[in-house]
């Protein structure tokens, strides 16, 4: 799905989290929103997911105005920074949640839900952990379960907030490849937020560098490296 961000701004009280920003994300792209904390990247991601509403501007999905669409109707697979797994549910029930929450008419039968959850557990290469609770998983396993849970609703796009932030370096490298594989396999338009320039450059097709609520540069990793558009980008990517 193609995503267009048209002059979106966001005020929290008197502080501006986002000055009007515009961005077009082609269908099937893997995009990184890169910037230091306070740059507005998470706010932008949450606006795409419908968890936050812009003060002004529009969001378009495949050319259709989606600005007022509720979070439920967006069908965005969202992976939260600390994964936000339901702590009182098993991994299986976590992944099944979105399917079981559908209105009766469109809810798949139990056997179908089981089949799909099993398939997702295989996709994240953790076929045997369905009956465990989130507290019994490692950080990397939690991240993959969160990803499977987001994929279970057959989302129109995948939004990830610092998906590798809470992991150690080795697991981070593995899961980067995991996300790349899942992206390539599903073909979903994917946007992830990160403050790690190496991660953004290595993983994304398109990198959006942000600072102080503004977009500093949009481009392919190699172009940003070769031609940083501002002193900020220059210093941030060489850090």
């Amino acid at each position: 799905m193609r995503i267009e961000i048209d002059e979106i701004s966001k005020q929290f009280g008197v502080t501006a989290a986002l000055h009007p920003v515009s961005l077009a994300i082609p269908s099937g792209a893997l995009v990184a929103l890169l910037g230091p904390s306070g740059s507005g990247k998470t706010t932008l991601l949450r606006i795409l997911g419908g968890l936050e509403f812009p003060t002004s501007g529009r969001v378009l999905f495949d050319g259709q105005d989606a600005t007022g669409l509720t979070v439920q109707d967006r069908r965005a697979g969202f992976v939260f920074q600390s994964y936000a797994l339901f702590r009182h549910m098993t991994v299986f029930d976590n992944i099944a949640y979105g399917l079981a929450a559908r209105p009766r008419a469109s809810r798949p039968p139990k056997a179908e839900i089981t089949r799909r959850v099993t398939k997702l557990l295989e996709l994240i290469q953790l076929p045997d952990i369905g009956s465990r609770f989130p507290s019994q998983l490692s950080g990397g396993q939690r991240q993959r379960v969160a990803l499977a849970r987001a994929l279970a609703i057959e989302p129109r796009m995948l939004l990830l907030d610092e998906p590798f932030g809470a992991l150690d370096a080795k697991v981070r490298k593995e899961l980067r490849q995991g996300l790349r594989d899942i992206h390539d396999e599903t073909g979903l338009t994917t946007v992830f937020v990160t403050h790690d320039q190496e991660e953004a450059m290595e993983l994304a097709d398109l990198v959006v560098v942000m600072s102080m609520g503004r977009i500093e540069q949009i481009g392919k990793p190699q172009d940003i490296r070769a031609r940083p558009a501002s002193a900020f980008v220059q210093s941030f990517i060489s850090a």
Binding site: V71, Q72, G77, F86, Y97, G98, A101, P134, S135, A150
Partner: protein
Amino acid sequence: MFDIAPTFRPVTTETPVARWVLTGLAVAGIAVLVAAPLIAVFAEALAKGIGAAVASLGNRDALSAIKLTLLIAAISVPLNAAFGIAAAWFITKFDFRGKAFLITLIDLPFSVSPVVAGLCIVLMFGANSLAGGWLVAQGYPIVFALPGIVIATMFVTFPFVARELIPVMIEQGRAEEEAALTLGASGWRVFWTVTLPNIRWALLYGVLLCNARAMGEFGAVAVVSGKIRGQTATMPITIEMLYNEYLSVAAFSMAAVLTLLALVTLLLKTALEVRHADALAANHRH
């Protein structure tokens, strides 16, 4: 591994004597302040034998008091649980101006004397007030009747549930709720399947505390009930009246029943804790 063992030190550095003195003080405090009065209540109740104690509870007024107290708890505790959940939800899941003020307002019943609270209710709903006069004319008196007692009890016990829930809900944050929303769940479904299971232990504690206080409340109820024997006299009110009439077996028998009700609540809580120790630990570990 073994050669570093001798460098370990106990975490506490107090001498054994200090430890014994401190433990002794704690045990003595509990014995004098908690256990002794409890034993005294039961001893007084049974001073003239169990027959006399049971007989004193069997008369119409005593039974009416027990029934009234249970009825009041049965009405006010669920209502306060619902209000407490709503208040805690509102305060912890939304940002708005005046939040600190609202939290203070929820705590108000803790800082206002129950007698004052009772007087306020009499002023608002008494026969001389506008609303009260009209309601009495319609045949629905508030003061000196069940509704007044329920309102007084609810006022006094209002903070218990909300106070238990607010810190837990602040600690848990909003991420799980937001995750459920992005997965397509309605707000109502999020509440039942995510919020409520996550707060169930805090909610249980709040409800148990609320219940204990609802059954034991004296001051506010004394003002609004009018203390009509067999009609508006709750257990604590009846105990006081019997005691003032030097009917000590009857007074202490009723007091023993009230104490037993409180002990049952405590036992229930402990039993649940033991049974669900794993779930509790899992909740906190996360």
